[in-house]
């Protein structure tokens, strides 16, 4: 073979620059994860070794147990709420379906820690029951009930707020070949229920696994809600090690083990998904029509209204009640503080959204026009790594990276001052690392839907890959970019652990402000920032949903 086996367009300088940028950005995004993984091989100082021993013998066992119980419980509740709703929405036409479908996604706009605070009043109603248990059955029984009720409440809370991940995954799976296969099943004499259990559910399983995986990651990542309920999950233990015990080396070691466990979960999810997800085609989706029996009709509404009541109506009622109760202290509210926090949230969310999407376009676009397997692997890893890592782990990785980089420059130089580990730039970097995957997955899916023969047609008409990307791929990606940008924006607005760990001095966002108010015991004072936060997030989600509906109706 005397021909160089190179990609055919490697000789355009624009593409070379583009690929170089993709390499650089991809590796930078992976850097925090690599820093944490490297700490697995570094030896600890005697002080840190002692702390590690303490943690592993006293804290770690309980932390693992609590994390596993919460993750499994939340995933089960989220599946029970999300899967039936997705199946009924996609399979039947009934009045109010569109509105319910939008409302079913909105619980994503409520940060779990705010819901946890709102639920305090509801949980107080359980106190008389617990007192009765203590009086009648003794302390041990009381402690058992208290612990299990706490687990139950938090699992229900997580499940009802995070089920939209399963709902969205299920909806896309049932709308794809699930419906077509379902029709084939019904023509072969199966009832809708048998069609669901024997054809549609197994077909949708890979997509559902991806949705359930996102729920698990959110639960592992959560700090505010679990802390409020008094649990010591792995994330809380990491916080305690870092700030409570001031043992950053030990925290890194712990983070590396968390990371390995999470990667194991990611590998499991990918193995489970296999090639199945790629074979789903959303084209030609149509429902079974109006529900024929009254029982099916009731089931349609129940499957939607139960999750909406738990995940949306209940927290919103709580918030309104909260606002009414806090009306007496309106004159004491520091409005300037709230406005500053809103401005900070907006700056942070907007800048990270722009950076996330631009980076996603650079990396994924370069991977499309490249046959280099390493660039493809980097693009794949950088789209998964960030979201698969709990925020605390990323914060630790970013700190490690910042220190390593900062040591290369004298602290008085401008670059040294810019790289101060507690600067805004590192918070932004951490947030981009964590949420890059959401934006990039939308871009990746959008680009994958564009047939490669479109690019080839453009090449045959004399356009280079760079020109093709800007004139053909990018305009067609607009809906995906809008969707990705909104989701990143909403998630950054809600982000708590990363902001708590890495924010510069006196830099409050709406979520950190809410959290610090609760921490100070001023629960009613955080009603207004919470309302701001939830409103912004809901608006974003409604835009994405309406956009999705418009696209769907266009294809129909």
């Amino acid at each position: 073979m005397f021909f160089k086996k190179k990609p055919f367009h490697s000789d355009t300088w624009g593409l070379r620059l583009w690929k170089f940028l993709a390499w650089a950005l991809g590796l930078t995004l992976l850097a925090p994860v690599l820093v944490i993984l490297l700490s697995l091989f570094s030896s600890l100082s005697p002080d840190s070794t002692e702390a590690w021993q303490q943690i592993s013998s006293f804290l770690l066992k309980d932390a693992i147990k609590e994390t596993i119980i919460l993750v499994i419980g939340s995933c089960v509740v989220a599946s029970l709420l999300g899967i039936p709703a997705a199946w009924f929405i996609e399979n039947f036409d009934f009045p109010g379906k569109r509105l319910l479908s939008i409302a079913l996604v909105l619980p994503l706009a409520i940060p779990p820690f705010i819901a946890a605070i709102i639920s305090s009043d509801l949980r107080e109603k359980l106190i008389p029951f617990l007192i009765k248990i203590r009086r009648e059955e003794g302390v041990e029984s009381f402690l058992w009930w208290e612990e299990h009720l706490r687990y139950g409440c938090l699992i229900l809370l997580f499940g009802s707020l995070l089920y939209p991940y399963v709902f969205l995954a299920g909806r896309s799976a049932f709308a794809g070949s699930g419906i077509i296969m379902g029709e084939a099943g019904r023509m072969l004499g199966r009832s809708p229920w048998r069609v669901f259990s024997s054809i549609q559910l197994p077909l949708a399983r890979p997509a559902l696994a991806a949705g359930i995986f996102l729920v698990a990651m959110e639960v592992i990542n959560d700090y505010g809600a679990v802390k409020h309920f008094g649990f010591n999950t792995l994330t809380v233990t990491l916080f305690t090690t870092w700030f409570g015990m001031d043992q950053i080396e030990t925290a890194k070691k712990l983070a590396s083990w968390i990371l390995i466990s999470v990667f194991f979960l990611v590998a499991l999810e990918h193995w489970h998904r296999g090639r199945a997800l790629r074979s789903l085609h959303p084209e030609g989706a149509k429902s079974f029509g109006s529900p024929s029996s009254i029982i099916t009709r009731i089931a349609c509404y129940l499957s939607c209204l139960v999750p909406i009541s738990l995940g949306l109506i209940l927290p919103l009622f709580g918030l309104i009640d909260w606002l009414l109760k806090s009306s007496s202290i309106y004159d004491q509210i520091d409005w300037e503080e709230i406005i500053t926090a809103s401005r900070h949230t907006l700056i942070l969310a907007l800048s990270s959204t722009v950076i996330c999407l631009a980076t996603a376009l650079i990396i994924i676009g370069a991977a499309r026009f490249s046959t280099n397997p390493i660039l493809r692997v980097i693009s794949k890893f950088s789209t998964v790594a960030g979201y698969a890592c709990p925020g605390t782990v990323i914060a630790l990785g970013v700190m490690g990276f910042a220190v390593a980089l900062g040591n290369q420059f004298p602290s008085e130089s401008w670059i040294g001052r810019l790289l101060v580990p507690s600067g805004f730039i590192w918070l932004l970097f951490a947030i981009v690392t964590r949420y890059f995957s959401i934006g990039s997955q939308m871009v990746q899916q959008g680009l994958a839907r564009q047939n490669k023969s479109l690019d080839q047609s453009s090449f045959s008409l004399g356009k280079t890959p760079t020109k093709t990307f800007f004139r053909i791929n990018l305009p067609l990606l607009k809906p995906s970019i809008l969707g990705g940008a909104t989701l990143v924006f909403v998630d950054v607005c809600k982000e708590l652990p990363l902001c708590l760990l890495l924010r510069p001095f006196d830099f409050e966002t709406l979520s950190t402000l809410t959290y610090s108010k609760v921490d100070q015991g001023a629960i009613y004072a955080c009603a207004i920032p919470s309302l701001f936060l939830i409103s912004v997030s809901m608006l974003g989600l409604i835009i994405v949903e309406l956009n999705g509906w418009r696209k769907l109706s266009k294809t129909k």
Binding site: M1, F2, F459, S460, I472
Partner: protein
């Protein structure tokens, strides 16, 4: 129509817009067998070459290599004397100026018809661009379609626009990759005639890949038959029909019967046989196993003892036969069908 000749292999054609491919080989990393093996092919300027072959025979790989989307392992491609690909040179696809029309047309969905047609006319003056687009729209019978978007067009209209878009920059070579496969037979027929007409008017050298024998026979000035990554025969449609080099080549155009090796020729077309009463003789006999009715004709499947595959005989639709009745098969014409295989040397490197 260009004549058939078998010139010396190393003499490459250099007339404007003629295509010369020599010893082109393409391999995929995940496949043991090369997708193309030393393919040699010459296409005269302004002529249409049809390429036929079974799925996986290498037709699409050949097109992809010609337009630069695949890097060949070896070989040379010359277009109008300019080297596009050799051991020392590789011209990028966007610089080859080779037009391509795919099965789905691939119109850019966010651009209207006018913008799609003008996409490849980057350095043209605005007025010239407009004139060229109008001229092509009229040629394909879709005037006043400038403002329409691809989702507002039917399948046939999309393919016509795709053809016009590829022709707009006046490419020296046009590659058609099964462009009518997704259309119904009536539309395919009319579009095929229209396409051949436009291509001849535009004097565009064209390679037309198809798996429909009637498309290949009616459109091409010459036909190349591909099998397992090589060109096994290249000839004019009439010659190829009369003298297919092998049963594989013959089976791409018609129903054929493989006969026991003792017979000569060892294969015959279904319409070259006739059914006779057992008492009237015939070279073999058997029992009618199945009858397929096609309107003008019908296919009778005759099961012969010790022969697993039935012999297929095409008969007029008026004739009546009974499934299960014994019957004899006779050759229709006395003149033996030429099945002399061309020598290995002539399998490749055939020029027009």
């Amino acid at each position: 129509m260009v004549g058939v000749s078998f010139p010396k292999r190393n003499k490459m054609m250099t007339s404007p817009n003629s295509l010369a491919v020599e010893n082109l080989s393409v391999s995929y990393p995940d496949s043991k067998e090369p997708a193309l093996q030393k393919v040699t092919l010459n296409v005269a300027a302004s002529s249409i070459l049809s390429i036929v072959g079974a799925s996986g025979s290498g037709k699409s790989t050949l097109l992809r290599a010609l337009c630069g989307l695949e890097s060949p392992a070896s070989g040379t491609i010359k277009l109008g004397g300019q080297v596009l690909c050799s051991s020392a040179k590789f011209v990028r696809p966007d610089r080859r100026k080779i037009g391509l029309v795919s099965q789905s047309g691939d119109l850019f969905p966010h651009l209207n018809v006018f913008q799609n047609l003008g996409y490849g006319l980057t350095n043209w003056r605005r007025a010239d661009r407009k004139t060229r687009c109008k001229e092509l729209l009229e040629a394909i019978g879709l005037p006043n379609f400038e403002k329409r978007f691809p989702h507002e067009l039917s399948g046939g209209e999309k393919q016509r626009i795709a053809l016009a878009r590829a022709l707009a920059p006046r490419p020296p070579l046009l590659l058609l990759d099964e462009p009518f496969s997704n259309l119904d037979s009536n539309l395919r027929q009319s579009l095929r005639r229209l396409t051949a007409d436009i291509l001849r008017k535009e004097k565009t050298t064209t390679i037309f890949v198809t798996h429909h024998p009637e498309d290949a026979l009616s459109t091409g000035d010459s036909i190349a038959v591909m099998d397992s990554g090589t060109i096994i025969q290249c000839d004019t449609p009439r010659n190829l029909w009369r003298n297919p080099v092998s049963p594989v080549a013959a089976s791409l155009f018609d129903q054929i019967n493989q006969l026991p090796s003792s017979n000569f020729p060892n294969w015959l077309r279904a319409n070259e046989l006739e059914l006779v009463e057992e008492s009237h003789g015939g070279f073999t006999s058997g029992i009618i196993h199945e009858i397929e009715f096609f309107g003008k004709t019908q296919m009778v499947y005759v099961k012969i003892q010790n022969n697993l595959t039935p012999v297929i005989v095409e008969v007029a639709s008026e004739e009546k036969y009974q499934i299960g009745s014994p019957i004899s098969i006779k050759r229709k014409r006395l003149k033996a069908i030429q099945s002399k295989r061309l020598s290995t040397e002539h399998k490749q490197g055939i020029c027009f």
